[in-house]
């Protein structure tokens, strides 16, 4: 009982919420880039919220089903076919043995999530199925998914489909405002540089992957050049010597030595995960108290 990959996906990996408590030995957290789409998929399927899922970038993955099960596609809007018939994303679908499932072109956004009821039955490494390719950990053999691979999963039938209300389906615009908690080395950035950072708009460059997102725009300068290497949070905004901000994401290195002006709110990084190169980015400061309230609200809405 399984889903079988029948083409060669460009970039699809098995992920879950991430790998925790191993960063002290250099193992990154990893995990899904867009937790909103991930959590919704699991909610639709009635799964435990930390159930694994397939994260698909750059489109075009085809599966053959060797099981009767229930699937859901969330994230980017994309072409999605079951046995050649176009289907809705953000809802559950019953799948039968022999069915073909195809994720075609990504239309808006940049990451598609495919979840199955009960999740894929794949051994975890250090408590997680998240694939970190540079560390050769998680997923299947620590690598991206490949043609002919078998993803074991259990039999389920659902009597009716569950669908997310349209109002909760995100729109992926080409402009994004990210909320920032000033932190880390912010005191080493002169006041006018911080003002410049919040009043300028940036463009996402082509250097955008699971590790981080490099922006292009007004250079920000810092009174210090580098720092002694220290722990890096999800969403940390590094300012290297060229002054172009880099937002560090799920596969970031655990420690590093660039000055950081602050950190993008985690829930805004999930939106960033769906943005594309050339998307316009602006920043807005947020106080820690409010930031923590917003993040608590986000996760509470799934319980």
């Amino acid at each position: 009982m399984s889903l079988e990959i029948i083409n060669s996906p460009l970039f699809a990996t098995l992920q879950d919420q991430g790998r925790f408590s191993y960063t002290h030995i250099g193992v990154t957290n990893s995990g899904v880039m867009d937790e909103y789409s991930y959590l919704v998929a699991n909610k639709i399927l009635g799964n435990k919220l930390d159930t694994n899922i397939i994260e698909i970038s750059f489109s075009n993955v085809e599966f053959k089903s060797n099981v009767n099960t229930v699937i859901a596609i969330t994230g980017s809007s994309c072409e999605f076919f079951i046995n050649g018939v176009s289907k809705n994303t953000w809802q559950s679908h019953n799948i039968k043995v022999g069915d073909s499932i195809k994720i075609g072109k990504i239309l808006e956004g940049s990451r598609v999530y495919l979840g199955v009821k009960g999740g894929f039955d794949i051994n975890k490494e250090f408590g997680s199925n998240s694939t970190t390719i540079k560390e050769n950990l998680g997923g299947i053999d620590g690598d991206r998914l490949k043609k002919s691979q078998i993803l074991p999963c259990d039999t389920f039938v659902q009597s009716h489909n569950t669908r997310l209300k349209d109002t909760f389906i995100p729109k992926y615009e080409n402009e994004l405002e990210l909320r920032v908690v000033l932190s880390y080395q912010d005191e080493f950035f002169p006041k006018e540089q911080i003002e410049k950072f919040f009043s300028s708009s940036y463009i996402i460059s082509n250097e955008f992957n699971r590790m981080g997102c490099k922006l292009k725009g007004e250079a920000i300068s810092c009174d210090i050049n580098g720092i002694i290497s220290e722990g890096i949070s999800f969403g940390a905004i590094q300012i290297p010597s060229d002054g172009q901000p880099i937002i560090l994401l799920k596969d970031r290195q655990t420690i590093g030595g660039y000055p950081k002006i602050g950190s993008v709110l985690s829930i805004d990084c999930f939106k960033l995960a769906q943005a594309k190169p050339s998307c316009k980015i602006t920043f807005k400061p947020i106080e820690i108290k409010e930031a923590q309230e917003k993040v608590r609200e986000f996760y509470s809405s799934f319980n």
Binding site: F20, S21, Y22, T23, H24, I25, G26, V27, N29, E125, F126, K134, E135, N136, L137, V181, L182, S183, Y184, I228, S229, E230, G231, I232, S233, F234, G235, A236, Q253, T254, I255, G256, S263, L265, S266, I288, K289, A291, Q292, V295, R296, Y299
Partner: protein, 224 residues
Amino acid sequence: MDFKLASVDSLIIYFGNEISADISSKVKNAYLSLQKLNCEGIIEIIPSYSSIFITYDIFKYDYEKVVELLKNSITTKSNESNDEKVVNIDVYYGVEVGLDLEDMSTKTDLSIQEIIDIHSNKLYDVYAIGFLPGFAYLASVDQRIAMPRLSSPRKQIPKGSVSIADTQTAVYPQASPGGWNIIGRTALELFDKNLDSLSPLSVGNKVKFNSISKEEFLSQGGIL
């Protein structure tokens, strides 16, 4: 101890602003006291040269609460019972694996044997672990063999490569791109999925490199 916000669910504690044995020992002691605390809701603890980064569960603490908890629980004083664990790493320093030995010999005016002796005659402190799983930043190497990073990093450095960058030394736990100067290779696994501790090294340990022959290296499972 200086507490600073890092992100919505993390903070960083600074113990100073330089790389020194004194500050590193404070970090180590604080790290050990945090580990003993074994506090629910503290998710990540990343010690580095002069800081400790902490991620916490914001459903358990807000920022002020967690800072208060940590201020009351962390001690930087040394505990006499803390054994200073010395990890021995056997290294084959042959030129076929020590890719930069000849170049370093020219630059330093030292013979290859002298470089090996200088490198393997010292106890190094584990200051930080990061970059790759099990990649430990060790310091300080003798100034005579301190060597800046390569001007252009190698695309692939073989697993187990023992290396030098400025006054730091390290072992690549897996094949990886990198710009450090390679002087030898070890068969020791620095990140072993089958080990309970995953890595034989931890911040606060000491490391001793021992020069071994090619035969010994191969018998330990080393690969040329």
